[in-house]
Amino acid sequence: MEVAATLERDAQLMLRVRDGDETSFAILLERHRSPVVHFVYRMVGNQAVAEELAQEVFFRVYKSRASYEPTAKFTTWLYRIASHLALNAIRDGKKRKYQQSLDQERPDGTEIQVPDGETSVEQRMVAQVRAAEVRQAIEALPDKQRAAVLMHKYQGLGYAQISATLEVSESATKSLLFRAYETLRVRLAHLA
């Protein structure tokens, strides 16, 4: 079982899902649920839409289990589906419908999350304002730059994997990332 031994854990689990093991699907879901929802959330800027799209991601993973082949890393496949769906949703204008008043208030009633540890009300408010500025700066990025920088910054994917996920060359991916970080630097430098 040399091949199985060198396969990453996710790919092994997915092969078991392919063979009909539902528990392995539950484990994969547990491992990737939050990261995928968070990624799509930062892509589309709305929690309800993000969860709807993330459900579609996992539904497609399950549905295509029979034809799964571990040719790429599991997360490359997973984030390819996720970024494809998110980019399509943005293009379809689904986002705009939910986002009309986003600059003023959260349309879905959720507060912007800030890291724990801030105790005073004032500190919490400052942290929320900062987080809102970061969110707006990220949402202002061109779609592919945003997808690339989100995977790089928050999902821990390297540029080579992002290149495979977005199906663009490695040098183009580096360029996407650099331009995104440069734009974010200009917009957010005053917060540092």
Binding site: S34, Q47, F58, T110, P115, Y154, L188, A192
Partner: protein
């Protein structure tokens, strides 16, 4: 040149730094340069600012909704089509079976003749075989 902006390999340098693949000497050089250069200083500092952007918790019913969808997809077709569709389909099927049952039987097989032919064949075979071999 260590400056990210003035270096044609600035993207490689920054990505290597962020992914932790930059050799230690180059890493130290960039950190030292960032202390002097405001743009590069900002570039490294903004990484911590980006960390402040957390995403909300996933809804508690996320899995339940997903499994409901998967379950619905697995359900056989007649549970989707419902009775409005199923009744005409069932009636059509019953009608087809009825027609088939009422089909006139083909010309009756002459069973006695078949049996006679078989017995004759066996007798012929016995004649051909050496005695006692059958």
């Amino acid at each position: 040149m260590t400056c990210l902006r003035e270096n044609e390999n600035g993207a490689d340098l920054l990505i290597g730094f962020l992914e932790g693949t930059l050799p230690e000497a180059a890493r130290n050089e960039l950190v030292a340069h960032a202390a002097e250069c405001s743009e590069c200083g900002e570039m490294l500092a903004v990484q911590a600012t980006l960390d402040a952007y957390e995403a909300p918790e996933v809804s508690a019913n996320f899995d339940a909704q997903l499994y409901a969808r998967i379950g619905a997809d697995k359900r056989p077709w007649w549970q989707f089509t419902g009775w409005k569709m199923a009744i005409p389909a069932a009636m059509a099927a019953m009608l087809a079976v009825g027609v088939w049952i009422r089909q006139p039987e083909p010309v009756a097989v002459d069973h006695p003749q078949d049996v006679q032919q078989l017995e004759q064949a066996l007798e012929d075979l016995e004649l051909l075989m050496p005695a006692g071999s059958l």
